[in-house]
Symmetry: C2
Subunit: 219 residues, 2 copies
DNA sequence: TAGATTGTTAATCGATTAACAATC
DNA sequence: TAGATTGTTAATCGATTAACAATC
């Protein structure tokens, strides 16, 4: 188990750890060297109690009256989250979203590299996307094996999502990022994380509706 | 308050309601007319108890020995989530991701329409993205007001995110979808939902690491 | 030193699950 | 009818918050 990680961290805590890491990085860019649980809490809309409780899952200790040393905390959080590793990824689905992911430079800046993009549509196969060429699905299993690809990003329409996920799993992928609306069932050793923009938008429209005054008027 | 909604539904439940709706739609496409709490639970990796408990937040009743009538359930869930309304959106940030959202046809299929895309980079302003032309940030507040835009999608780099969010809020936007890593603080009447692909990837890499055997070997 | 901030325990709060009477 | 499935109550489980001694 990587350094800095203590047994199992609850998913709710892991989500917040990503926010802590982002905030610490941002503060470091501003030249700040220490952060406190109160500062983190206020910025992220939490209680300082939650922040301290969360950080107790991680092998790093703050200092009374000073807080947490930023660089040390960032490094430990990066270790726990795996942000210090060079993960290898493939994107399946060369639609607008899949292409955008390949062209997005945030990944490479963070050490995550997309090694291949695949599509079943013969019209898309061979097309250039940044430095990559869209490959046919036939070659996916061999590609994943030979390049020791860790992560598969599922960026295909809902109907095709589970078929694609099954193929990636059979190819020996270690984890899936699911961008499709379909729920993906995978074996226990292959974690799946959903990042579904349509679902997020529905959460948002639900929340907006709740704020509509009872009168039903506009705004 | 829209029909079918009972007072306040916890966020954890709302998230699952989006999944239930997606599953019911998929089953309807297959010609199925009834779904049960057991079927929903098994497909989505939940207990049937959770499904029934969740659906009790919604103004729709199942039938003993048959389950839930698919079309009725879909319609009520759509009402609760706001999926039956024509939401008006703008995208701020005409990078790869922002452009992909405009070109993505899933939104229009779901009645969500992107009315404008904005960028502060003069080199991007004027560029065509699908049927839209990238606009300068100057025009954002007037555009939001005149077009009665409901939702702002924040698709800019972390540094710019909060400035953009503040501008959208000042323009009278009703809700924000945040795709940037920055945490956005908004007034209570402006809900913010995060959909951050980098954060999701970090949750995934954390989960993958946990599955590494203690020996530290590959796979 | 005085007092701000930590780490941790215990209490509270909320979410999930189990159980089962009601029902079609 | 018999029995499968609902809606709901109560029990369990987990996550958040409050409180405070320890400490730098």
């Amino acid at each position: 188990m990587p350094y800095g990680m203590k047994s199992k961290i609850p998913p709710s805590v892991v989500k917040r750890l990503t926010k802590y890491m982002a905030h610490v990085q941002q503060r470091q860019n501003e030249g700040v060297e220490w952060v406190s649980s109160v500062e983190l809490a206020e910025t992220l809309g939490l209680t300082s109690s939650t922040v301290r409780q969360d950080l107790s899952h991680v092998d790093f200790f703050g200092v009374s009256r000073r807080g947490y040393e930023a660089e040390g905390l960032r490094r430990v959080l990066a270790g726990v989250l795996g942000a210090d590793k060079a993960w290898r990824m493939v994107v399946v689905g060369a639609g607008h979203l899949g292409q955008a992911l390949v062209l997005h430079d945030e990944f490479s800046r963070r050490g995550m590299k997309i090694y291949g993009i695949f599509d079943k549509d013969p019209k898309k196969v061979g097309m250039k996307v940044g430095k990559l060429v869209v490959r046919s699905m036939d070659g996916l299993p061999a590609f994943v094996g030979q390049n020791e690809v860790d992560i598969g990003i599922v960026a295909v329409p809902a109907e095709a999502a589970h078929r694609v996920a099954d193929l990636l799993i059979a190819s020996g992928i270690r984890g899936l990022l699911n961008l499709s609306l379909t729920h993906i069932v995978a074996p226990r050793h292959v974690p799946v994380v959903d990042s579904r923009i349509i679902a997020s938008l529905l959460q948002l429209t639900h929340a907006i509706q709740q704020h509509v005054p009872a009168s039903g008027g506009k705004r």
